[in-house]
C-alpha cells in the first residue's frame, strides 16, 4: 500500500497501491462510482477510486454494471483483481450466481467519525489510518491539505 487519500469535500477515497509512472497501466469503471487502475501485464492493482465513499458503505450490494463497458480483453483480469487482496480489502465481491457481478465496499473508516470531521481533522485521521499499513515513513508522500472549497471571490 502506497497511499490512502480521503477528500472530505467530494467524499472520494483514493487508494494508491503502487506507482503508475513508468509502467503500463489502464483504468476501468466498475460502476459510475468505482474506478480501478491496474497494470494489465502483471495484473497488479495501481489505484482504486471510490466516489461517494460513505454512501457506498451504506449501499446494498453494488452491481458492477460498468464492466459491460470494459473491453473484453480487460474484463476477466479486472474481475480477478477485484476477487483478491489488496483490492478485495476495499471492495468485496458478493458470492452467488449473478448475471452482473456485485460487490460491497468495505469500511476502513468509521462513517460516524468521518461525519463529525472537519477538513483539518480529516488529515489527522487519514494519517492515523495510513499508519496501519506497511508503508515505510520514508516512502510516504506528504499529505496534501484538504480544505473546504470556497467560491473564488472574483469570478470573471
Amino acid at each position: 500500500m502506497r497511499n490512502i487519500d480521503y477528500d472530505l469535500e467530494g467524499d472520494i477515497l483514493t487508494v494508491t497501491f503502487a506507482e503508475s509512472k513508468g509502467r503500463v497501466h489502464t483504468g476501468v469503471e466498475l460502476t459510475d462510482n468505482i474506478v480501478l487502475y491496474f497494470d494489465p501485464t502483471t495484473e497488479e492493482p495501481l489505484q482504486l477510486i471510490l466516489v461517494s465513499y460513505r454512501r457506498l458503505l451504506e449501499a446494498p450490494p453494488i452491481r458492477l454494471d460498468g464492466l459491460a463497458e470494459v473491453p473484453d480483453d480487460l474484463r476477466a483480469a479486472t474481475l480477478r483483481l477485484v476477487g483478491r487482496a489488496p483490492v478485495a480489502n476495499f471492495l468485496r465481491l458478493e458470492e452467488g450466481r449473478r448475471t452482473v457481478p456485485a460487490g460491497r465496499v468495505t469500511e476502513i473508516f468509521l462513517p460516524t467519525v468521518l461525519g463529525a470531521m472537519t477538513p483539518a481533522t480529516t488529515a489527522v485521521a487519514v494519517a492515523e489510518q495510513r499508519a496501519q499499513y506497511e508503508v515505510p515513513k520514508s516512502k510516504r508522500r506528504p499529505k496534501k491539505s484538504q480544505t473546504a472549497q470556497k467560491k473564488p471571490s472574483a469570478p470573471p
Binding site: 467530494g10 459510475d32 473491453p71 467560491k151
Partner: protein, 106 residues
C-alpha cells in the same frame, strides 16, 4: 502560466471552476498529465452529464477522445454543484477531480 481558477461553462450554461489545488489532485490519477488540461475543460463544455446515484449535488461529465495516451478512451470530470446563498452570483460549482478510463469504443 494559467490564471487559476479556470472558469468554464457546460452545455447548459452552468458556470464551473477548476482550482489549481483540484487540478493537482487530478494529476495524481494514473495517466493524467498537464497536457490533458484542455481535454478536461472540453469535457465540461461538451461532455455527457450524469448525476451521481448517491449524492445529487455531484455530477459526472464524460467525453470520448481519440488521442488520449495509454489506450484510454474517455476523460471523466467530477463536479460538485453548490449554492452560497447569494441571489445573483450564488452558484458555487467546482471540479472535484478528473481521471481517465478505458471503455469499449462505440
Amino acid at each position: 502560466m494559467q490564471a487559476w481558477p479556470l472558469w468554464v461553462q457546460d452545455r447548459e450554461g452552468r458556470r464551473i471552476y477548476l482550482t489549481e489545488e483540484r487540478w493537482q489532485h487530478a494529476l495524481d490519477h494514473p495517466g493524467m498529465s498537464k497536457a490533458l488540461l484542455d481535454a478536461v475543460l472540453v469535457t465540461i463544455r461538451a461532455g455527457h452529464r450524469k448525476q451521481d446515484r448517491y449524492e445529487p449535488d455531484k455530477y459526472k461529465y464524460s467525453r470520448a477522445f481519440d488521442d488520449l495516451p495509454g489506450g484510454y478512451t474517455h476523460v471523466v470530470v467530477l463536479v460538485k454543484f453548490g449554492w452560497t446563498g447569494e441571489e445573483l452570483t450564488g452558484e458555487n460549482n467546482f471540479v472535484l477531480t478528473a481521471y481517465l478510463v478505458r471503455k469499449h469504443q462505440r
